[in-house]
């Protein structure tokens, strides 16, 4: 999954990538969603495959053809737009959330791009009677260097539960304000983004159906 060695922690590229993720989390937890959308490339792909329980030798532990998310910019904008309406009941009153971002490793990718792996723990609390929920996930991000700084071109989220213990996934956006749509200045940030050079599906995805994906037990008593 990971080619090459991670950059040393003192490497300016690693420091910039780490700061990008921390600043992104700060924007989300501060409900500055216009700012968050501005960190995304126009050609972003935002993926979260369904994780499954398989035998150790099966060779896959995610579904290649089914995700919790498989989003482009249009879909992400719609999700933001929805939460900004007066009728998105599931986040009104909004969740209280905290994104904890750790275990950041940065790798050189194609051209000036950086591939950044991180661990995410999302705490979510709603109302006053419900138990809070946690989502633990790994993320593999592709960060692109633009004239305006780093921008997120691709994110693949490897969630650590096969059965999510949270009411829904309205939370990745964390929209809590009424400040309206991404501003024109936010939009201009996307203009520096190049076309996608997105890598293929991660190796732990389920391979296409067929005999090749079998992990059959050959031993007979």
């Amino acid at each position: 999954m990971t080619a090459g060695r991670p950059l040393p922690y003192g490497d300016p590229a690693h420091l910039a990538a780490h700061q990008f993720l921390v600043e992104e989390a700060a924007l989300l937890d501060a409900a500055d969603f216009a700012g968050w959308l501005g960190l995304l490339c126009e050609d972003i792909r935002y993926l979260m495959p369904v994780r499954v329980t398989t035998a150790r030798g099966a060779g896959f532990d995610s579904l290649a053809d089914m995700g919790h998310f498989d989003e482009n910019m249009y879909a992400l904008r719609k999700r933001v737009q929805r939460l900004a309406t007066d009728h998105a009941w599931t986040e009104d009153p909004p969740s209280r959330t905290r994104h904890f971002v750790t275990n950041v490793r940065t790798f050189r990718a194609e051209g000036d791009d950086l591939r950044v792996e991180s661990a995410l723990l999302l705490f979510r609390s709603r109302g006053d009677t419900r138990e809070p929920s946690l989502i633990s996930a790994g993320r593999t991000d592709l960060l692109r260097v633009t004239a305006d700084g780093l921008r997120l071109a691709r994110r693949e989220i490897t969630v650590d539960e096969s059965v999510l213990r949270t009411q829904n996934l309205a939370v990745f956006l964390l929209w809590q304000t009424r400040s309206g749509w991404p501003t024109s200045s936010a939009r201009s940030w996307w203009n520096g983004c190049r076309p996608a050079t997105a890598p293929g599906c991660a190796s732990r995805c389920r391979p296409p159906a067929g005999p090749s994906c079998s992990a059959r037990s050959s031993s007979r008593p």
């Binding site: 979260m48 369904v50 499954v52 329980t53 398989t54 035998a55 099966a58 579904l63 053809d65 089914m66 995700g67 919790h68 998310f69 498989d70 989003e71 249009y74 879909a75 719609k78 999700r79 737009q81 929805r82 939460l83 309406t85 007066d86 009728h87 998105a88 009941w89 599931t90 986040e91 009677t129 419900r130 138990e131 096969s162 059965v163 999510l164 213990r165 949270t166 009411q167 829904n168 996934l169 309205a170 159906a209 067929g210 005999p211 994906c213 079998s214 992990a215 059959r216 037990s217 050959s218 031993s219 007979r220 008593p221």
Partner: protein
């Protein structure tokens, strides 16, 4: 102390004691009288296409292996070792010729038959001491398939599946047989919600009334192809056999000859798929869509398998793409439900259609879906409120469509093309139909 007879009699009048949505005694009765005897959906044959493919699914606390054996036959086996009771298969999907228990290595073929056990000769004295022949993981007491849908019942005396499905089979075809190739299921997404399992099942059975308000946000953002509440209120609500569902009233078709194709094009089916749909469906099924302009949307097959068909706009160009989802409200407890939500698409559909349809599904339903998010918010809140003392003093009115004397506010549709009974306009007909089946189950003996 639960007075079940009183609860059942109130429910039959469309008055629902609110505590039924969070009551452990009701849940125990449902487990013993309803889930112990009903036909339950487990999987679709497309999830296990090749010999040795399996998925593991539950009926409440009972785990079953659903496997395609070496000869291609689908088997459903209770996932508990005959020897000491260990869970034999602990993955949720894969491919295996055999299942070997981790405890003492008793090993079963993928058709359930016991293939061997260690030291059979030395420890058991061979066949004399323990005859392997005829030993098998317990098969599901009853099993049946329809359009590739695999159902089981824990009741060995369950009615035959076709008899159970009855008139609802007519409506099942709209979701599960759009061509002779049948359905392809992907997923499921699985997540747990702190809601009683009945609420989702009832909602999909007939609650067109919630759409304009609960889902106002998706109208606001232009995702919904049918933004006008009037489209919803003009839809027909039908109840047939063990199921009930909703439809949308589509705009009038071009002319009597093009009606069927026009309606399917309107909701985003490409011309490449329409001839197969026309061939797969009967005259009456085509007439429902073509002549009446009723496009099936949400439905529930009692007890806990629901269907949804909708057609959002998935890009800035206004491309309309239809999708189908199957979803199961799998009870965990009286206050918690595991939702299993599959994306379903005609197996013979063009690849670019499958992609669009998948996008439409993810935007609308499932763990991240923009419709589903707000549905579940309601269901969790109802369950929360139903758990206290005051809920035992409140009876929820589910009588929409009936006068206080119990007469219909308006007559059923006289010319509805499908079987069963249908009404046009809002009304809690489908929910009462579902609740009537629920009351029937709770009135019979426990198993």
């Amino acid at each position: 102390m639960l007075d079940l007879a009183s609860v059942v009699s109130q429910v039959r009048r469309g008055m629902i004691p609110a505590h039924v949505y969070a009551d452990p005694e009701i849940f125990a009765a449902e487990r013993d009288r309803l889930f112990a005897r009903s036909w339950m959906f487990l999987a679709h044959e497309s999830e296990i296409p090749d010999p040795g493919d399996y998925v593991v699914r539950r009926v409440l606390a009972d785990s079953f292996i659903v496997a395609r054996d070496e000869t291609g036959v689908v088997r459903v086996m209770f996932n508990m070792c005959l020897h000491r009771g260990m869970q034999v298969c602990r993955a949720e999907l894969g491919n295996a010729s055999h299942f070997r228990c981790p405890y003492h290595a008793w090993t079963y073929r993928n058709d359930g038959r016991l293939a061997g056990l260690p030291f059979h000769e030395e420890a058991y004295g061979g066949e004399d001491g323990f005859a392997r022949a005829g030993q098998s993981l317990l098969p599901a007491p009853s099993m049946g398939t329809h359009n590739g849908l695999i159902f089981i019942s824990l009741d060995p005396d369950a009615p035959a599946l076709p008899d159970y499905l009855g008139d609802f089979a007519f409506y099942l075809d709209f979701y599960t047989r759009q061509s002779p190739a049948g359905l392809e299921l992907r997923g499921p997404q699985r997540w747990r919600i702190k809601a009683n399992w009945k609420i989702g099942a009832e909602n999909f059975a007939g609650d067109s009334y919630h759409t304009p308000h609960t889902h106002a946000s998706v109208v606001d953002i232009g995702l919904f192809r049918e933004p006008k509440a009037s489209k919803r209120i003009q839809g027909a609500l039908y109840q047939a056999g063990p199921g009930a569902g909703t439809t949308y009233k589509l705009p009038p078709a071009g002319n009597e000859h093009s009606g069927f194709a026009d309606q399917l094009r309107y909701v985003g089916y490409p011309d490449a798929m329409i001839p197969a749909m026309a061939a797969a469906w009967s005259d009456r099924q085509r007439a429902l869509v073509a002549d009446s302009g009723f496009m099936p949307s949400a439905a529930t097959l009692f007890p806990n398998l629901s269907f949804v068909h909708n057609w959002p706009q998935i890009d800035a160009d206004g491309t309309v793409a239809p999708f189908i989802s199957l979803r199961q409200w799998q009870p965990v407890s009286e206050r918690e439900t595991e939702v299993l939500s599959w994306f379903a698409v005609d197996a013979a559909a063009p690849d670019d259609f499958k992609r669009r349809s998948y996008t439409a599904y993810l935007m609308c339903f499932g763990s991240s879906g923009m419709f589903e998010q707000d549905d579940v918010e309601n269901w969790v809140s109802i369950t929360d409120m139903a758990a206290g003392s005051m809920a035992r003093r409140l009876t929820l009115n589910s009588r929409m469509g009936l006068t206080s004397e119990g007469k219909p506010v308006k007559p059923p549709l006289a010319t509805f093309a499908g079987p069963g009974v249908a009404h046009q306009g809002f009304g809690e007909y489908g929910q009462r139909h579902w609740l009537g089946l629920w009351a029937d189950c709770l009135s019979r003996d426990a198993r």
